[in-house]
C-alpha cells in the first residue's frame, strides 16, 4: 500500500486526504515526518518537547489540509507550520530549563566507564556545550539558522515564516554564528 503511494505526488495525496483517505494521509505523513521532526527538534532542543511539537504540527496539518490551496509547495507550507509551531512550543516552555546539567548521571556513568575513554567524554562534553550554546541563542535566530543551513531554505521563505525582512534573517544568522563561535571557541581551537 505504501509502495504504491510512494510514486504519487504530494498533490494527489492531499486531494485523497481531503476526501478522507486515511492511507493517503499516512503516506503523506511518512514522506515528511523526518523533516518535520528535525526542524522541531533543532528549534525546541528537547526530545520530549519535540515529540509533542511534531504531533501538534500534524494535527494542524490534518485539520487545515482541506483548505490548502497550493499557493506554495506542500513541503514549504509544512516547513512553515513546523517552524512556527516549534517557536510557539519553545516560547511556552521557556521557563522550564531544558539544559543538561554537567552533573548529569549519564555523563557521570560515562566518566566512570573506563572503556568509554577520554575521547568519548570529550565528544559528549562538546555536544553538551553546543546544546547549551544553541539554547542561549534567541529562538528566532536559531530558527533562521536551522532553516537556512539544515533545511536549505531560501532567505525569502525564512523571512516569510518569521514575519520579517530578508535583511533581518541575515542579521539573525550572523548573530547566531557569532554567538556560537564565542561559545565554542575553546573546542574549535583544540
Amino acid at each position: 500500500m505504501m509502495d504504491g503511494h510512494d510514486r504519487i505526488t504530494d498533490k494527489a495525496l492531499i486531494e485523497a486526504v481531503q476526501r478522507g483517505d486515511r492511507d493517503a494521509a499516512a503516506c503523506l505523513y511518512h514522506r515528511h515526518i523526518d523533516r518535520v521532526h528535525r526542524i522541531c527538534q533543532r528549534i525546541v532542543l528537547d526530545p520530549s518537547l519535540a515529540l509533542d511539537c511534531v504531533q501538534e504540527v500534524w494535527l494542524k496539518v490534518f485539520r487545515s489540509l482541506g483548505r490548502f490551496r497550493y499557493r506554495s509547495s506542500f513541503a514549504a507550507w509544512l516547513n512553515s507550520v513546523a517552524a512556527n509551531t516549534a517557536i510557539d512550543h519553545y516560547r511556552r516552555s521557556k521557563r522550564r530549563s531544558n539544559r543538561v546539567d554537567i552533573d548529569d548521571p549519564e555523563v557521570e556513568s560515562m566518566a566512570a566507564d573506563e572503556q568509554a575513554g577520554e575521547r568519548q567524554l570529550d565528544d559528549e562534553l562538546t555536544r553538551q556545550r553546543i546544546q547549551e550554546a544553541l539554547e542561549e541563542i534567541s529562538v528566532s535566530q536559531r530558527t533562521a539558522f536551522v532553516l537556512r543551513y539544515y533545511e536549505n531554505m531560501p532567505l525569502a521563505e525564512i523571512a516569510r515564516i518569521l514575519g520579517c525582512r530578508e535583511g533581518t534573517v541575515r542579521t539573525h544568522i550572523r548573530r547566531c554564528l557569532l554567538a556560537l563561535r564565542a561559545k565554542l571557541m575553546a573546542e574549535l581551537n583544540q
Binding site: 528535525r38 527538534q41 511534531v54 543551513y149 550572523r174 554564528l177 574549535l188
Partner: protein
C-alpha cells in the same frame, strides 16, 4: 540534508562589514565551516517506527474529531466553484423574492385611472377620467357621496375648481 550549506558568497553577504584582506576573509570563513561541522556532532535523535505510528494515530484521530459535518460544509463552501454557484443561487432567490414582493404591493390610485373610488366610513369619493368627462369645465372634479349614517339618504356633491384654482366649486347633485 543534514550537511550545512554555507558558500563563501553567502558568508560575505552575511558579514558585509568584513573588509579585511581576502586571506583573512577566507580564514574566517573556514573557521565558520569548522563551527558548522561541530554543530553536526549534535545529531537529531531518530524517531522509532512505534513513535511515528503513535504520532500519526493521535494526529489523525484528533483532526477527525474536529471534522464535524458543519466544518465539512464550511470547508466545501470555501471552494471557489461552490461559492460561485451558491452566490448565483442566492442572487436568483433574492431577485425572485423582490420581484414577487413588488407584484404583491397594492397599487395606489392614479389620477390617470378611469375611475377611482375612495371609501371613508359611509362616504365615497369618485375621481378619475370618467368624472372629468362628465364635467369638462370643472378642474379636478370629484363627486362625493356622503351619508352620516348607514340608513341616511346619501347626498351627492360635486367638488372642484374653476379658472386655474381661483374659484372653488361645491355643487349639490
Amino acid at each position: 540534508m543534514d550537511k550545512p550549506r554555507f558558500s563563501f558568497e553567502e558568508f560575505k553577504a552575511i558579514f558585509p562589514d568584513h573588509c579585511e584582506s581576502q586571506e583573512k576573509l577566507l580564514s574566517e570563513y573556514n573557521f565558520f565551516l569548522m563551527l558548522l561541522e561541530q554543530l553536526d556532532q549534535v545529531p537529531v535523535p531518530k524517531l522509532s517506527a512505534g513513535q511515528k505510528a503513535d504520532i500519526f494515530r493521535r494526529s489523525w484521530q484528533g483532526a477527525s474529531r474536529n471534522r464535524s459535518p458543519v466544518w465539512s460544509w464550511l470547508g466545501l463552501l470555501r471552494r471557489p466553484a461552490v461559492t460561485f454557484a451558491a452566490g448565483i443561487v442566492l442572487g436568483c432567490s433574492l431577485m425572485f423574492a423582490v420581484a414577487k414582493g413588488r407584484a404583491a404591493v397594492p397599487q395606489s390610485p392614479s389620477p390617470q385611472r378611469l375611475l377611482a373610488v375612495e371609501h371613508a366610513g359611509y362616504t365615497q369619493v369618485y375621481t378619475g377620467k370618467a368624472v372629468e368627462g362628465l364635467y369638462p369645465q370643472i378642474e379636478n372634479p370629484k363627486i362625493v357621496i356622503e351619508r352620516p349614517r348607514k340608513s341616511s339618504t346619501p347626498q351627492r356633491v360635486l367638488y372642484g375648481t374653476l379658472d386655474k384654482g381661483e374659484t372653488y366649486v361645491v355643487w349639490n347633485l
